[in-house]
């Protein structure tokens, strides 16, 4: 991969990849592996990009497909992201409330099924129901119903963690 391609076509969209990869990994090493793999697959599949959709939508789709079908080795289970593995009481005070909450939300998202993680990430990234349906291969009505259920489940998980 040329560094030009990475700088021009991937780096500006790195936030999307980072947000998705983080939801599918439990630790920093796995996260970096996933990120690397997504970049590799974007580069390899770039010629198949059809301008029918936005490049960013394509990145969402490809990142999800790669994360869903990544072959993760079952090691490093003991390592976690420094912040979000800690019990609530021990969370680093230097992190602001927003960062602490996002860690908590990620922990909750990781408890969902792999498909549900994809759906809720796309929803949180403000993709429309139709866009999510197109990416996941479903229809907008079903996506709406599923999102409602996922949100309820996430709220339950986060509330139980707070209590």
């Amino acid at each position: 991969m040329s560094s030009d391609f990475y700088t021009t076509f991937i780096l500006p969209y790195a936030a999307i990849i980072i947000k998705i990869c983080r939801a599918y990994t439990n630790n920093q090493a796995d996260f970096e592996d996933y990120y690397q793999e997504v970049c590799l697959q974007i580069w390899r599949s770039k010629d198949r990009f059809k301008a029918q959709s936005e490049w960013s939508t394509w990145i969402y789709k490809l990142s999800l497909n790669v994360c869903l079908t990544y072959l993760k080795k079952a090691n490093n289970k003991h390592q976690y992201y420094v912040s979000d593995s800690l019990p609530q009481a021990l969370i680093d005070d230097s992190k602001n409330a927003g960062e602490q909450l996002i860690d908590q939300l990620y922990r909750a998202i990781r408890q969902l099924s792999e498909v549900d993680r994809g759906v809720i990430l796309l929803y949180l990234e403000e993709q429309t129901y139709q866009e999510i349906a197109d990416i996941m291969g479903s229809n907008a009505n079903n996506i709406g119903v599923r999102i409602k259920r996922i949100k309820e489940r996430l709220n339950r998980i986060m509330n139980s963690e707070e209590n």
Binding site: A15, L68, T69
Partner: protein
Amino acid sequence: MSQSIEKIWKEGFINDEALIAPKLNNLYSQKSKHIVDRFERVFTWNLIGLVMFAVIAVIGMTIEGMPYLGLFIAAMLIALVVRGKEELAKLALIDKNVSSYHYLKSFDQWLNNQMRGYAKLYSFFYPALFLAIITQVRFTAFGDEFINGLLYDFPAMPLLFSIPLYLLMVIISLAILLYFLSGPLYRLDFNSLYGRMFNKLAELLNDMETLRK
């Protein structure tokens, strides 16, 4: 929880530190851990292995004085390679640029098709290999000695193609047994290698199909 998850998400990334991309290391030398790429890699190595084995079979069997058996084994292995090359070409057509459901479905379909195809091929491969080995052994000094020994012990045994009939029936029964066992054995072998991936794919597809209903 006082804040909505939407608000948490939006405010959680205000600080850009959370979104710093990790460094890419040795991307050229990195092996992909993606299911399709890994399959392609393993498949390619399997095919190379089969070609090497075919060459060794020809040379080895010729040295041992069984050139026809060597050629026969090589021909069968090359048939497996040709089939494998066709499968590889189909695998390359799987597009990641489609919806997750269609992508997983295409891959699952490819996996099942190639497993079915190989299982069928192996159903003929193993019995044919077994019969070829038996035929070759029949024409060696050991084969003559064995049959003469049998005829000495059981002189009344009927013969067919100069082989004791009961021995021929045992050989044919074993070949038939191999025909029926080859497919399941291949699947068992395949599952032991890729079982984890199969389970993951089945789970994902099941969930995706629920989402579509």
